[in-house]
Amino acid sequence: MEATAGGGCGSGPPLLLSEGEQQCYSELFARCAGAAGGGPGSGPPEAARAAPGAATAAAGPVADLFRASQLPAETLHQITELCGAKRVGYFGPTQFYVALKLIAAAQSGLPVRIESIKCELPLPRFMMLKTDAEIRFGNPAELHGTKVQIPYLITEKSTFKRMDDEEKQQETQSPAMSPLASPPSSPPHYQRVPLSHGYSKLRSSTEQMHPAPYEARQSLVQPEGPSSGGPGPKPPRHQASLIRSFSVERELQDHSNYPDEPWRITEEQREYYVNQFRSLQPDPSSFISGSVAKNFFTKSKLSIPELSYIWELSDADCDGALTLPEFCAAFHLIVARKNGYPLPEGLPPTLQPEYLQAAFPKPKWECTLFDSYSESMPANQQPRDLNRMELSVKDMADFPAPTQDVTGDDKQALTSATDEALPKDISEDSATPKDPNSLKARPRSRSYSSTSIEEAMKRGEDPPTPPPRPQKTHSRASSLDLNKVFQPSVPASKSGLLPPPPALPPRPCPSQSEPASEAELHSQLNRATSQAAESSPTKKDIPYSQPPSKPIRRKFRPENQATESQEPSNTVGGPASVATVKPHPAVQKQSSKQKKAIQTAIRKNKEANAVLARLNSELQQQLKEVHQERIALENQLEQLRPVTVL
């Protein structure tokens, strides 16, 4: 294709595009322009316009596309500058085509120069993970096939998003408009595209099978469900897919009140975050200090640079403290990161504090809703959530700029979508698909948040925690012991755990005392006095060991809980299923069945003992480290003091 020189000038005087190139480029451009919705509002027929004269491709999709070309960042910067986008401030057709040509040049190994565009080059290749278009473009022959795919996905997202915004009937009316007429949906839907693309790549290669792109995508969409609302195909081309997408979207909408956006916090997630916030800071309207938040987020086991980056993103006012929306955003980013999503370059619009505050004005109200929802959220949502989460996150990662660009519009639309979605969800009974994101997030983040979930749930902050939650946690608890130890003690824990927290000092984390007490108890396992001992050592331990122990405490909370649940239940005379050593002698006189139960309990207790012993040693270690830090700091202080005399 490229051999034929001199196709019509794409849009720039110095640019000579071959026919194939022109076709590809215009397609890409249209996609970028349409996906971003930042085009000149050309609307659905933008696809029909081969070379939109006044169209501009928004930076987001373009950046995405460029990144998909797998060129190094400097090269992309060079290309961007060369093509003139920086000069004019936007990616017009000329700039876009020049950029594409330069990308092709760079991929062919030619230096990135203006002269390169004069050569005949192969089409630029873009990695499939990014967008359909990219895949397409890598394979011009399958252009048509992929074409369908890309619009399909794109419209999916947009239409899906629109599902949230409007009633289904409206969707039918507005699908054509969705890709372009709704800027808010474009970022998410654009995000979706790469995500679903990437995700589908992960899950099945069908997505990338050009031969049957449409069908593949269709099937891909359907299993993914949440990931893409449905193909709102570029109107001119994808009426069929549109219809199909509608059905899918409808389905999806029933299930979720939000488009599959990885960066949108679902109600369940929100509730969870709020609970965690409350555990750190009882007053929901005030801040969490930096150190407290640091300790808390450190438990997530993310690397410090990543946490630092997340903080940077979420602390919008850079005050060193997190308000509730900031905290939710940070938590959400952490959860997403733990689930494998790359971090965005900018705070997504749905995570902006203003948006979060507007979208979730009443945590209390949400809680009740969420409880009912969470109960109806079965594990079957998880795969779909995974898809959506993956997709959207991936999209987000590649799509930082556009999201920010359309933040304003997005926020409003999202807010309205949220508000509408929430009531709609309430009316809908299908709680299962309702929260793909949160579901996805939850199971994925088990290793970190599961324990916290359990803690938050069991700690009495939310005594009527829906049962499914602990179940799900168990299924994916990072520690197998936890499962074994915890499940039998779940009923016991609920009753047994509630009493201990009130007895503890009024710290935000009542459970903190328990790990400390656990350590103590470890030595005096299954003693009736253990509970009393818990309180006192707890109080002592809390002052100085709290900061370092907090992460560990929380981490080991489930273990502690498990152990504790056994102990308190034993001491409290909880369920007979868990018997302590104390009654052991008495058991001998009882039936052998009880003996076996007791022996099982003993075994479990021993395991818990081992865990506690380990915990104890680790806590001691942390304590030493903290002491050393303190000494070092004091030394520094001393050193600095004379200097401050100046």
């Binding site: 930096g290 987020f297 410090i304 630092s308 980056y309 903080w311 940077e312 602390d315 060193g320 100046l646």
Partner: protein, 109 residues
Amino acid sequence: MVHTSLDVVDEKISAMGKALVDQRELYLGLLYPTEDYKVYGYVTNSKVKFVMVVDSSNTALRDNEIRSMFRKLHNSYTDVMCNPFYNPGDRIQSRAFDSMVTSMMVQVC
């Protein structure tokens, strides 16, 4: 080169006198105008020093510009400090900070 600049900064700090801690001039001005480059110093209230080395061929840089650059640098630095995960003394990896610095440098060039 930078180390000699640091020495000069220290010298200026110590030369400020004993009790002038409050409204001390943070901007230390041109430190060492030789050797084909100019070094500008800036000290924060917490003794964090910013040293800016500028090529002498760039004569368009005015003192005010340098001051404003230092101010922006200081603001970005405090934003970075707000991050509880940032340990003072670590290499700053904040993207916002880097982008600010880069934009500043681009402006000048």
